[in-house]
């Protein structure tokens, strides 16, 4: 279990997250949406133990996350950031093997075990990167690179995936591919995912629950149908929106209505 209990996070005196409670349930994807500065990324950082709360707590399997070692956290929680940090040339295989670090035994030089290689190969297949495993990360396209970042997160075998705007730099088809991989991991292994995103329609399509944040507070938590309502979205994003039903999937579809379009 990974849960936040009445979490309050402050940067100096500014309150970034105010009284947020949330738990990630097995097999479910939770999308976090809200305007810039709503505290979405801070919440994600706190769930990973990166930011210490001013009040409240984050519990991992019932114990405060601050009490876990980095290595134990990394076996349970994996983070997918918007962009991979790449300062040195490294092959896709080496990069994805990095996800196995938390499982390395102490004492030895830390060579990868047969199991590390097996898990990595499975993940490479799952993300369709097997053919690219010998290529350098910086030779890949943006979509392939982001798939490698996800592959590394999956290679940790963590049950909790935290994704921070994972599709921000991807085109339409790569956005869907990435989230479908997350979806299938949640379905097949009962993993839980938290996806911070600006793309409300992507959230509607892939998430079981949506958390709408504004100024650090929870405006509404619920199914996409419950949260993606014009009154709530207009109040939070300060823009007129049209919400109708997606003709194929039946989930809510949100379209902003701009002044410039109102000439009809």
């Amino acid at each position: 279990m990974l849960e936040a209990k009445q979490l309050i996070i402050k940067y100096d005196s500014r309150v970034a997250v105010a009284d947020v409670s949330l738990d990630l349930r097995p097999g479910e994807i939770t999308a976090v949406i809200g305007p810039n500065g709503a505290g979405k990324s801070t919440l994600l950082q706190a769930l990973n133990g990166h930011v210490e709360p001013a009040a409240g707590e984050v519990l991992l399997d019932g114990r405060s996350i601050q009490k876990w070692s980095r290595r134990s956290i990394a076996r349970r929680i994996a983070v997918v950031a918007q962009e991979a940090e790449l300062r040195f040339p490294i092959t896709v295989l080496e990069f994805v093997l990095g996800g196995r670090f938390a499982w390395a035994d102490n004492g030895v030089w830390g060579w990868e075990t047969a199991r590390d290689l097996q898990v990595t190969n499975e993940v490479l297949q799952e993300t369709e990167l097997t053919d690219l495993s010998g290529r350098l990360m910086n030779e890949l396209s943006g979509g392939e690179r982001q798939r490698a970042v996800l592959a590394r997160a999956l290679a940790t075998e963590a049950m909790f995936l935290l994704l921070d705007e994972p599709t921000a730099n991807l085109d339409l088809s790569h956005q869907a591919t990435l989230l479908m991989l997350v979806r299938s991991r949640c379905d097949s292994r009962h993993a839980s995912a938290l996806v911070v995103t600006h793309d409300i329609n992507l959230a509607a399509q892939f998430a079981d629950h949506v958390l709408l944040l504004d100024k650090g507070r929870v405006v509404r938590f619920g199914t996409p149908e419950e949260v993606l309502r014009p009154d709530l979205l207009e109040q939070v994003f300060d823009v007129k929106v049209l919400v109708d039903t997606h003709p194929l999937s039946g989930v809510p579809r949100v379209t902003p209505v701009h002044e410039a379009h109102r000439h009809v």
Binding site: R70, I73, A74, A81, R87, I90, W109
Partner: protein, 159 residues
């Protein structure tokens, strides 16, 4: 200060093995061996840190701890070897880059390669220093600079 001491100081600055003291040698050897061991044992976290601090943290590296261990060990290694042999230039600038270019950037392999490669480079340079104008001797730093400086410029230009 008398003339011999000034001379030995100048040679120390240039990097010269003929003036190295036998009494410092055991200390330098112990630190070199232990230091190489400690660094190589931290090679895997270093591999991840090479990619960036944030990713390393997320993947389970105790970033602060690894950093302190590596800084202290590297300082001890540099301090003891310079104290024992003088400041022989260009070894640390050139050899690790060549090691990375030839065996790749997995520190579990790169670190020992760089350590052995550095030792080899100094031995070859010292042999040259002792033989080119025999029976007189050049400071080894002059030879390493002669080889190292053009190599370093080449490595910089490659980028």
């Amino acid at each position: 200060m008398d003339a011999t001491r000034i001379r030995s100081f100048t040679f120390w600055l240039l990097g010269d093995l003929s003036g190295s003291s036998k009494s410092l040698l055991p200390v330098a050897i112990v630190i070199a061996l232990l230091g190489a061991l400690v660094l190589t044992a931290n090679a895997r976290p270093l591999n991840l840190l090479m990619l960036g601090q944030r990713d390393a943290f997320d993947l389970g590296v105790e970033v602060g701890r690894v950093r302190i261990i590596v800084f202290v060990t590297a300082s001890l290694l540099v301090g003891s070897s310079v104290a024992a042999s003088g400041s022989v230039g260009y070894v640390g600038l050139v050899v690790p880059h060549l090691a990375r270019l030839s065996v790749g950037s997995d520190n579990r392999i790169t670190l020992p390669t760089a350590a052995l490669g550095g030792a080899l480079f100094v031995i070859v340079a010292d042999t040259l220093a002792r033989s080119v104008i025999a029976p007189r001797e050049l400071p080894v730093g002059a030879i390493t600079a002669l080889i190292g400086a053009p190599l370093f410029i080449y490595l910089l230009k490659r980028r």
